[in-house]
């Protein structure tokens, strides 16, 4: 197990580096550079040339990448070309917001998916099953921003601001700035709608997947054996069947993290949340290369680490799985 873990941890390094290299090259292939936005009204071609020299943007792309990498090794994530703010500082300020959003949306997704899938699987071809699968199908089909706008219309417009439409309030003890709104209830109020908007689509996917896994598992021999031994339906379903059926679901959950990060960009923009999603999209739009690299680095790292954790979860779900 230790060897496996070490090997996987070592795999993280080339994977993340490859992703950052691809992003680095791609960003510089996109038309436009940040110098235009930086100089704004004062733009002249002569000044643009000088500024590009200052930021090393006149060097070949691979040389720029090596320079960026060299600084990264020393813990320097660089600074925003536009605002001059250290990238790492901005990433760390925004990370908790997105982390909380993603965790809660995944929790909401599971809270919807598990009961819906169980009902669908255990009462296959009944109205309950049809309802669960239909709702899942609708959930898959509706994009996050549309659910978000509907929630805004109902809970912010309709119910006289019952839930705040924008902004962020931090959990007590987590404020990373000088000025923050801090309150547990305020935090719940602010994260609820974005998390639902983000979680519903994931719930739909997981419901469909878990239902089909459950259908397969409850027809397997060991479940029949458990029933034949006289076990009641509850432990048969929850302990024997569900645990095994969850393995493909957990795999997909890990992969869904990528979609959640993508969805967070949309949802954070809609709800004006100061998270990594808005940080990433603003950086891409402004061609702020250093910030884009920071965003790519943190999301790539999060993605591979979460998928490693997912793989490790298999051993808990199915003791027969061993890593060597």
């Amino acid at each position: 197990m230790r060897v496996y873990l070490l090997r996987r941890l070592l795999h993280i390094v080339p994977t993340v580096l490859m992703i950052t290299l691809v992003v680095f090259v791609m960003m510089r292939s996109v038309p436009g550079d940040p110098v235009v936005a930086l100089l704004g009204d004062a733009y002249t071609e002569e000044d643009a040339v000088k500024v590009r020299e200052v930021y090393g943007l006149d060097k070949p792309v691979l040389v720029q990448y090596v320079i960026w990498l060299g600084k990264l090794v020393r813990g320097d994530w660089g600074a925003s070309i536009l605002s001059g703010r250290p990238v790492l500082q901005d990433v760390l300020v925004r990370l908790p917001v997105t982390l909380e959003l993603i965790l809660l949306s995944m929790a909401i997704a599971l809270a919807i998916a598990i009961p819906a899938a169980l009902i669908g699987a255990l009462r296959q071809n009944t109205w309950a099953d049809y309802t669960a699968t239909s709702v899942a199908m609708i959930g898959v089909s509706i994009p996050e921003f549309f659910i978000g706008v509907l929630l805004l219309l109902v809970f912010s417009f309709g119910l006289n601001g019952f839930l705040p439409s924008s902004g962020w309030v931090y959990l007590p003890g987590t404020c990373p700035m000088m000025v923050c709104g801090v309150s547990l209830w305020g935090n719940v109020q602010h994260v609820l709608m974005p998390a639902i908007a983000l979680g519903v689509g994931r719930a739909a996917i997981l419901t469909r997947l878990l239902r089909s896994s459950m259908l397969e598992v409850i027809r397997s021999e060991y479940v029949t054996t458990a029933r034949a031994k006289g076990l009641s339906e509850r432990p048969v379903v929850l302990k024997h069947a569900l645990k095994n059926a969850l393995i493909p679901t957990v795999t997909v959950m890990g992969l869904q993290v990528g979609f959640l990060i993508g969805g967070a960009i949309v949802v954070e923009t809609l709800f004006a949340m100061p998270g990594l999603g808005t940080f990433g999209i603003d950086a891409i739009i402004a061609r702020d290369y250093q910030q884009v690299q920071g965003f790519a680095l943190i999301t790539a790292f999060a993605f591979v680490v979460i998928n490693l954790l997912v793989d490790l979860t298999y051993t808990f779900l199915d003791p027969r799985i061993r890593y060597a």
Partner: protein, 534 residues
Amino acid sequence: MRLPARSSALATLLTFAWVLVAPADAQAPKRGGTLRVSYGNEIAHLDFHTAPGYEMMWVAMNIGCGLVNITPDGRFVGDAAESWQVAPDGLLYTFKLKKSVLFHDGTAVDAASVKFSIDRLMDPNTKSGMRSFYESIHSVEVLDPLTVQIRLKHPYAFMLHMLAAYRTGLVLYSPTATQKFSLEDRKQGKPGAVVGCGPFKLVEWVKGSHLVMDRFDKYFVAGQPYLDRVMIRVIKDPVAEMAAFKAGEIDFIASFSPEHVDNLKVQAPKAQIMTGKETTPMLAAMKVTVPADGKPMSKERKPHPIFGDLKVRKAVGCYGIDRKEIVKIAFKGQATPWVGMNPPGTLDTVDVNHLCPYDPAKAKAMLAEAGYGPSKPLTFDIIADNEKSVFNVIATVIKEQMARLGATANIRVVDKVSWMNTTLQDGPWDMYVEDLLSLITLDSNGYLSNSSSTWSHPRHNDKRTDELYARYARELDPAKRKAIAKEIQEFFVENMYWNNISGSPFYMVAQPWMKGYTYNAEFEVHYHTVWLDK
């Protein structure tokens, strides 16, 4: 019960007195509270002399102070300047500063700091977008600690307009703080690095989250500002912005999307919706020249293959575009169709719409004269950047109007940075739809439309435009200046160097409890007189 005559008279007097006093009391500014402001775009950075964007400017106007400000009716009022004198030949401006004006770092605002700030703006190394407006200044001299003199190379009729409201206007910098902190510190908004002499001092800027300014207790206007704090958040989505406003989460939207105004009136009927005559031109620019040697920004130019021909420019831009229809569809009628480059709300504006009546038959005939017709159909591209949805709508209507002429316009939607790169760097484009800059004077549009500026995207090389602008800016007689302004506006229409569509409406929205704000479009956004009636 009947009151004795004396008591009755006293009661009447007291009632009368209450009637007189009570409304005055109700309008007396209340001190304290936090004004929660929403901006639709991110603040670029906090070096006010170089940062682009209105969002930065609206912060600069509150953290910084300058020499003069301008009122909505065009009067100049002193900011740090107590008084000023202009020599009869217009070559010497003498400013007397108010005593006891302090920067937030405790140092005095004196003549030396004014000289320091103007010199900094004029220094090419500063790379300020304001530099071109200071071109007329010969030197700045300190006469005594409270008197500063600006000597000009030639008369500049818009000197005070420029100092008050071109972009941020002049923002005074503390020499001490500027020398103590680096440019990077100031851009990031590091504590202590952003020092102004305005009513609010910077507390914190966290990009993507908020900017917080607190009352500067030593502000030179006694008793002001009334607010304890101004908290600015960025809400980019207009629907979310409207929801936050309706829920009372924000007090003031500094720039509200015009297409959502009607909806807001329904959602928040008590909201104060502020607007005025348009000062921003909405244009469908056409490229006039391209590099002859293929090198972007080359001085060797040749006519653009399509719009290099004046006949085509006039056929498309002048007679082929139905501006009324565009305004009806894109702005729901809430803008003014306007051919002139100087929008209806800008100083010295002239209605020149009669020069370009919508006449598709004439447009078709002109295109035929230029060689376009069924055998050689006119085809061109329109770039619309996605910063505002209205650009795309206008481009779509133009496309439809071109189809009526037998021409094909292909729309290319790009992001703002791509648009800036293409237009600023002399890239390949035929026409674009944009609103560029809010204009307080026609003079301030010079650097977007003369023959040499990088920002003059059509890249016409007609030196006559420079001569007209120079004559306009140097003319000190307002009546003569107005005549030159008319000449400029007609000249640009006749040559279609600036294909204006309409004014671009601007809206600010405030909660009913926000009091004391004076609307002055994008030019002056000050919170020091604002108070909250909660």
